[in-house]
């Protein structure tokens, strides 16, 4: 039995992030190091925002992505992901999922929300954080449920600049992985 971590796309590839949101050049290595140190194999979730809204997309909150077209896009993405999770579970692998908290699409415990956001972009950092899941995460859990597949344990981390995970992030991740 292998341990497999399905991780948000940008944790391996910061180039997918919205402009102004890339905390390092490529791999968010402090996070990846924690997983590899614990023997996790890596699997990468697709970035739902990149192919849909592009590299030059604006920062957005959940409500802006919560359209029928974007959910259809997410459902097409999670079909493959749910198949992959199912394939690992059928082999007896332990599967966990790590999203990105604060993300409108990949948040697990925290997403970003502002029902009034729109028009010319202008807002303060983090003013929109709220409890809840991102849209792709919601669609993935719905797809697994529809297939009768148990959802993996899941958590989210927040990015931070620099070469080390902030202590609280590290503690939360380690606690999750060792649970």
């Amino acid at each position: 039995m292998a341990k497999v971590a399905f991780v948000a796309h940008c944790l391996l590839n910061q180039n997918a992030r919205v402009a102004g949101g890339a905390y390092c050049s490529g791999v968010y290595s402090p996070f990846v190091a924690e997983l590899r140190r614990r023997g996790y194999r890596l699997a990468q979730l697709p970035c739902p925002e990149l192919a849909f809204a592009g590299l030059n997309r604006f920062w957005a909150v959940r409500e802006q992505y919560d359209t029928i077209a974007f959910r259809r896009h997410c459902r097409s993405l999670v079909a493959g992901v749910a198949g992959a999770i199912t394939a690992h579970l059928e082999r007896g692998d332990e599967v966990v999922l790590v999203g990105v908290d604060g993300s409108p699409t990949m948040g697990v415990q925290i997403t970003s929300s502002d029902a009034g956001r729109g028009g010319r972009p202008e807002w303060e950092d983090d003013a929109d954080l709220s409890a809840g899941r991102g849209i792709l995460i919601e669609e993935l859990l719905a797809e697994l449920e529809a297939r009768g597949v148990a959802a993996p344990r899941l958590t989210g981390i927040r990015h931070a600049p620099g070469d080390a995970l902030p202590d609280r992030q590290r503690e939360a991740l380690v606690s999750f992985l060792e649970a």
Partner: protein, 135 residues
């Protein structure tokens, strides 16, 4: 969020066995990280086609976007079905890189990255010009 975007504008598609099974004989992920490349991890070859095909199509769609914005792309290892997925998205297959050591991989990636000419908002934020003739 940071004030300055730190992305490297370099993205490598990497075969699963090279990241998860040590198939290259050295730490490929570590070498890519050290060289500042982002990683798009290709699905394992044992996935059923019904699972792998949509995953590869999603990767091809993302590559289309990187290609459109002048990011440097490379392919490390192989993945059956990738070429077809890229063709469906109208994306050329990135230059393939084969290396026996981490230093060889980094050197070959550096050669490819010398063509870097990103054209997007993050590049503008960092003052990177797509036109080498412009300051």
């Amino acid at each position: 969020m940071t004030d300055i975007d730190l992305r490297g504008f370099r993205v490598a598609l990497v075969a699963d066995e090279l990241i998860n099974d040590g198939g290259a004989g050295f730490d490929v992920l570590g070498a890519l990280d050290e060289a500042g490349w982002g990683v798009v991890l290709l699905p394992p070859t044992w996935y059923p086609d019904t699972t792998a095909t949509p995953l590869l199509d999603a990767i091809a769609d993302q590559l289309h976007e990187y290609n459109r914005h002048g990011y440097v792309l490379a392919l490390v290892g192989e993945r059956p079905g990738l070429d077809a997925a890229l063709a469906r998205a109208g994306v050329p297959v990135p230059p393939a890189v084969r290396a026996h050591t981490a230093s060889e991989l980094r050197a070959k990636l550096a050669d490819i990255a010398s063509a870097l000419a990103p054209r997007d908002a993050a590049a503008a934020q960092r003052g990177i010009s797509a036109d080498p003739a412009r300051p």
